[in-house]
C-alpha cells in the first residue's frame, strides 16, 4: 500500500497546516512527509496537525519524520536524513513536547502502539479529530 499526503491550510492565529497521511509510512516515503512540513513552515504555518485516521502502518522512519516535524515547526534545524539513519536517535529529551505545536489526530490503535512502545507518546498531544486538534493549537 502506497501512501498519499493531503495538505490543508487553516487560517487563524497561528496559521495551522493539517497533513493527512493515508496508507503506510515507511523508509521509502518518510522524507516526503518532512518536505511537506518544511514547506508548511516556510509558507507561514506555526502549528501542524497530522491527521492519522487513514494511516495503517508506521515504521521507525515514520517516527523520525514526526520528530523532524516538531523541530521544523519550532524553527529548529531537523535531523538531516542524509546524515544517516542514526539521526533517528537525535530525538531530544524535550519534556515539554506534549505542549508543542505539532498534534496528532485520530491516531489508529496500531500506530498508537508503535508510539507507545518507543516512548514517543509523550512527544505529541493526541486529539480525537482534526477539528479538535486545530482548535487546541489555535487556543480553543
Amino acid at each position: 500500500m502506497a501512501m498519499t499526503i493531503d495538505v490543508e491550510q487553516v487560517a487563524g492565529d497561528p496559521p495551522v497546516t493539517v497533513v493527512a497521511l493515508d496508507g503506510e509510512l515507511d523508509a521509502s516515503n518518510y522524507e516526503s512527509v518532512i518536505d511537506v512540513v518544511r514547506t508548511a513552515y516556510a509558507d507561514g504555518s506555526r502549528g501542524l496537525v497530522f491527521d492519522l485516521s487513514g494511516l495503517a502502518f508506521m515504521a521507525s522512519s515514520g517516527l523520525f519524520a514526526l520528530h523532524s516535524a516538531v523541530r521544523i515547526m519550532r524553527g529548529e534545524v531537523p535531523p538531516d536524513p542524509e546524515g544517516g539513519w542514526g539521526a533517528l536517535h537525535e530525538m531530544t529529551q524535550d519534556r515539554d513536547s506534549a505542549s508543542s505545536n505539532v498534534c496528532l489526530a485520530e491516531t489508529q490503535e496500531a500506530i498508537a502502539r508503535v508510539l507507545d512502545r518507543t516512548g514517543m507518546t509523550r512527544l505529541f498531544a493526541m486529539h480525537a479529530n482534526r477539528a479538535e486538534a486545530v482548535a487546541a493549537l489555535q487556543g480553543g
Binding site: 536517535h89 529529551q93 513536547s97
Partner: protein
C-alpha cells in the same frame, strides 16, 4: 512460503504484504500479523540501509509455522550484524542518541513485537535472522 527482494526500500511494501499473507495462511490474528509486519519491516529495512547500503543485494525471507509459533527467517549477504546483541532500550525515557549511526529504535520495535529473535552468521557469508512470534497470544502484555 518464501519471498526474495532486492535491497531497495521501495520493496518494503511487498515484504509487509508477504508477512500478512503468511500470517493469514497460518491462521494468525490481525494483531499477530500487525506485530510481525512491524518487526519484519524494521529488520529488512535495517539490512537494506545498513547492510547493503547503496550496494545491490538480495534478501530472502522465509515464513513457517512450527509448534504454534510463526518463524520468519531473513537471509542476506551483508557483513555480520547481530541485532540481538544491542542493549535493550529504556522507554521510560524519551529516545535519545546513545549510539550514533545505530538503528536502535527499529531494533527495539522488532524485539518488543516478537517472542524471540535469533541471529546466526551464515557459514558461507551473510546473516540469518529469525523472528519468532507465538500465533496464540500477544508478544507482550498491553
Amino acid at each position: 512460503m518464501r519471498l526474495r527482494v532486492e535491497s531497495d526500500v521501495n520493496r518494503l511494501v511487498e515484504v509487509r504484504e508477504f508477512v500478512r499473507e503468511a500470517v493469514s495462511t497460518f491462521g494468525g490474528s490481525d494483531r499477530v500479523a500487525e506485530d510481525l509486519v512491524q518487526a519484519v519491516d524494521e529488520a529488512t529495512c535495517n539490512v537494506m540501509l545498513h547492510g547493503y547500503g547503496h550496494q545491490p543485494g538480495a534478501i530472502e525471507i522465509e515464513a513457517a509455522l512450527r509448534d504454534r509459533r510463526i518463524e520468519i527467517r531473513l537471509l542476506d549477504r551483508t557483513p555480520s550484524f547481530d541485532p540481538t546483541a544491542t542493549p535493550a532500550k529504556d522507554i521510560s525515557k524519551p529516545p535519545v542518541s546513545k549510539r550514533p549511526g545505530g538503528m536502535g529504535v527499529g531494533i527495539h520495535l522488532l524485539r518488543t513485537m516478537t517472542d524471540e529473535v535469533r541471529h546466526h552468521v551464515r557459514p558461507d557469508g551473510g546473516n540469518e535472522l529469525t523472528l519468532v512470534r507465538s500465533i496464540d497470544g500477544p508478544a507482550e502484555e498491553d
